[in-house]
Every structure is written in C-alpha cells, then in structure tokens.
C-alpha cells in the first residue's frame, strides 16, 4: 500500500515550549486516520503545519512518496468551530474555497448544488448559517471543505461542539459519505469511542510535547458496534494507554 502522506521526525517549538517532538505518522490513500491525545497536546499544531499556516522546525513530510513542503491550499482544513460567515447564504458559504481558487462563480455554484442533497442540506441553499441547526452547520462546513477537491482532509474535532445525538448521527453519515468520497482523512478527536467508530488506524499521542505513544489498527467491519466485545477491548486498551498522559497533563 502506497502512503498518501508520511510524516517523519517532525519537531515544532514555540520559543522554549516544545510542542511536537520527533513525531512520525503516515496515512494510506483513502485511509481514515485518527489522532487522539490529551487536550492541548499539539495535535492542532500538526494540522496548522500541514495546512501551511505554520512551519515545522525539523522533520520531513512526504506526499505521494515525494518530499512535500506544505502550502496553503494544498489540503482541505476544517476546524471545530465552523467559521461560517453570517452574511453569506449556505450556498455562498459552501463555495468559498472554490471562489478563492478563482473558479467562475456559476460553475462553483453548480458544483456545490450537486452536493447539497448528499450533505442533507437540500432546500437550505439560500438559508443563512444562523438559520441552521448545529448539525447542519457542521455538515455545511464539511461540504465547504470537501468541495475544494483536495485529496487529504484535515478535520480538527469537527464534531466536538455537538450534542451526543447529533454527533452520533453525523459520525454515521460521515462514514457513508467517505464510502463515496474516498478521501484520505486525518481526524483529530479526544473521544476514544469516536476514534474507534470511524477510523482504520488510530494514533495515540502523548501529552505536550506530542510524540507517538501507540498505533492501533482497527480491523472491525463497519458499521461498528460499541457493544461488540472486540470494540470494548480496544477501547479499554486505548484508554489504558491514554490514562497516564491525561493524568500527567492534569498535574
């Protein structure tokens, strides 16, 4: 299996504060990879670097086997807060990335409209974000992210601010969507169950400075059942690895 994205020995410091330390990880094409770790461990910094917003101090990044210097506009990036603009309709929010990539307006709108149904937003094209529910806003933010046709999606706790029910329905929906989209997804969460429900591979990161604690490949068939014995075993296993990290972080 060829690696879509490979990161080796990445370091990042803010002054004297070391945030990433010798971090290595990889993601195959169309793989759903989750990064899990204590809050504030530096996961988001990694995404900032990959999105081209910050530069690493040391380390290598490989894209399709080629050395790669991250630049804005190469990977699709989605933050926990949806960042939807209240003065734009759902449709106009969705096309933002295409607009910035200089796609003609009409073409961008048609492309976006084609996906509104799959994202459960049909009929809300001309609604404003503040007229949408939390789950719909997040789906719209993901639509905006997906629409730019980047092969790699960086999703930074996209469901973190949602209530449990909405969250669980969006998780199922995201899996169905990924069946069709077939993108390489890097997904940040600090919810072990979410990681196990969604991903092919889970990277467990230590507290800051973030380095790799463990890798867990999840070979369970979809849709996964949290009550499944193997699921329960993996969950307690990951929690076991995470526990000292979370405790140290709290000290």
């Amino acid at each position: 299996m060829t690696e879509k994205l490979k990161i080796t020995n990445l370091y990042k410091n803010y002054g004297k504060l070391s945030v990433l330390q010798d971090l290595s990880l990889e993601a195959a094409a169309c793989e759903f990879v989750t990064l899990i770790g204590p809050s504030g461990c530096g996961k988001s910094t990694l995404f900032s670097i990959l999105a081209g917003l910050e530069t690493a101090d040391a380390g290598q990044i490989w894209y399709d086997g080629q050395p790669f210097t991250p630049q804005p506009g190469k990977m699709a990036y989605m933050l926990q807060r949806d960042g939807l603009m209240p003065w734009r309709t759902a449709l106009d929010n969705a096309v933002l990335g295409l607009e910035l990539a200089k796609m003609p307006r009409q073409q961008a709108r048609e492309k976006a409209l084609g996906l509104f149904e799959a994202f459960g937003l049909k009929g809300f094209e001309n609604s404003y974000p503040w007229q949408l529910s939390g789950g719909m806003r997040q789906r719209l933010a993901l639509l905006r992210t997906v629409l730019t046709d980047k092969e790699i999606l960086l999703l930074d706790e996209p469901f973190g601010a949602l209530d449990a029910l909405t969250r669980s329905s969006l998780q199922e929906w995201l899996l169905e969507l990924q069946e069709k989209l077939r993108r390489t997804i890097l997904f940040i969460t600090h919810d072990v169950e979410e990681a196990l429900l969604l991903s092919d591979r889970v990277y467990v990161l230590s507290q800051r400075p973030a380095n790799l604690k463990a890798v867990q490949v999840v070979n369970l068939p979809y849709p996964r059942q949290p009550a499944d014995p193997e699921f329960v075993r993996l969950k307690s296993h990951l929690l076991e690895i995470l526990r000292p990290e979370v405790q140290n972080a709290a000290d």
Binding site: L53, Q71, G73, R81, M85, L96, W130
Partner: protein, 265 residues
C-alpha cells in the same frame, strides 16, 4: 396594510409624544401669556417657517452641502485610518489614545480659530464636520476589524486567500455592523458641526441664520431653524439606516429572528 400597522407600532409612540409635547407647549404659551419674545408658541414658529420658507431652504442647502462634503471626507479618511491602525498594532497603540484625547478638545474653542486660519469660506465648516465625524467612523471601523472571527481568518489562510481577499471578503463584511453604528453617530452630529462652523462666521447657512435671527430677536425664526435642524438630523439618520438595510439585509433578519450574537460561532 400590514406594513402600515407595523409602522404605526414602531413609530406611533414617538409621534404621540411629540404631539403631546407641542400641545403642552402651545397651551403653556397661550394660557400663561408668555411673551413671544421669550418663548414663541409652536403655531407661531410654524407660521414663521412658512413665511420665510425660501430663505430657510436656500440656507439649508448650503448647510447640507457642507455636511455631506465633511462627512464624506471623514468617512474616507476614517476608513483608511482604521485600515492602517488595524494593519499595525504599534501604530494603533501609539495613535489611538491621541485620537481619544482629541475628542476632549471643545469645538467652540477651535471653530473661531479655523475662521481666522481659513477665512469665511466653506473650508472651516468642512473641517469642523470632519472633526465631528472622523472619530466615530474610525472607532466603528477599528472595532469592526478587530471583531473578525480568528478561526474564519485561519480558514481563509488555509484556503490560500491573499491579504486583499481576506480584507474584502472577510474583514470588511465583519466590520459592517460596527462601522454602521459609527456612521449613524457621525451623521447625527454632522449637521450640528456644520451649524457651529457657520455660527462662528459664514456668509450663508443655517448657523449664520441662527446668529442673525438671535441678534435681531426673531425668536420664532431661531426656533424654526432649530426645527429644520432636528428634521434634517433625523432624515440623515433614517437614510443611513435604510442604506444599512440594503447593504446588509442578513443582519436585520438575524436580529429579527433572535438568532443571537454575531452568529459567527
């Protein structure tokens, strides 16, 4: 029909209170036998207004002209200045306190000086209007630019947006609510600024009429000018509000639905 009843609900109380106020005023002057040289009655003011209509209108146009130019300059410079302050935190820290301090200088002290420096022409009036309007417009814009959602800004950057795109597509729309608050304050004070400038020394304008009528003890005409001033300020305020509804209809809908806050989270 629904629109009319909506307007009645919104503005009816204000008209009712103004009507009551005028009625009490009229009765007080007539029943209390107050001399019209001390306080003219509303009907007397109104008849002076009608009889001197032409000269009042002519001078009103002059004042409006000065107001618009002064406000226009203040808006353009205030906006540019706000961009500069937003661009450089250092300049902002250095200049912002000066800007606030400048607002404590009484204009009545400055106005005569401006006449001395720039003569009786239109320029000193424009400067005074500018002085009045510059501050609210600048503060409105600066606060507006500062209100940009940092996550949305990151998103723009990650999508490869240029500084210019971030400015026009994100910062300016984000700043509009605050900018319009500043503009509403500025436009309401602007007429008063122009009148102050004219009062100190001018050949034409409502301020000059006030000075002229005061000295010739034409009290009812002074009040007529005051009445015109109030109406003008109100109309300008309404004009700005209507413009804002055109420029950012989403903002009024959002507030109308009570979909709280800046709707940005």
């Amino acid at each position: 029909m629904r629109q009319i009843s909506g307007w009645l609900k919104a503005y009816g109380p204000a008209f009712l209170i103004i009507g009551l106020f005028l009625l009490v005023w009229q009765l007080y002057v007539e029943l209390g036998s107050v001399s019209p040289n001390v306080l003219p009655s509303p009907t007397r003011i109104f008849s002076s207004l009608l009889s001197s209509w032409e000269i009042l209108w002519d001078n009103t146009l002059q004042t409006l002209y000065e107001t618009f130019i002064g406000f226009g300059v203040a808006f353009a410079l205030g906006f540019l200045f706000a961009v500069l302050l937003d661009y450089s935190p250092l300049i902002k820290r250095g200049i912002y306190p000066l800007l606030i301090a400048s607002q404590t200088v009484p204009l009545v002290a400055i106005a005569p000086l401006l006449i001395v420096w720039f003569g009786f022409d239109i320029l000193p009036k424009i400067i005074i209007v500018w002085l009045v309007c510059f501050f609210p417009v600048t503060v409105g814009a600066v606060d507006g630019f500062a209100a940009v959602d940092p996550d949305t800004s990151r998103l723009f950057q990650a999508m490869g947006a240029t500084r210019r795109e971030i400015f026009w597509k994100l910062k300016v729309p984000s700043a509009l609510p605050s900018l319009f608050s500043g503009i509403r304050i500025a436009i309401t004070y602007s007429i008063g600024g122009a009148i102050l400038g004219e009062y100190v020394g001018a050949e034409k304008g409502l301020g000059r009429l006030i000075s002229l009528y005061s000295r010739s003890f034409s009290r009812s005409l002074v009040f007529a000018v005051v009445f015109i001033t109030a109406i003008l300020s109100l109309l300008l305020f309404i004009g700005v509000t209507l413009l804002q509804r055109r420029v950012m209809p989403w903002y009024f809908k959002m507030r109308g639905t009570g979909a709280g806050g800046r709707g940005n989270s």
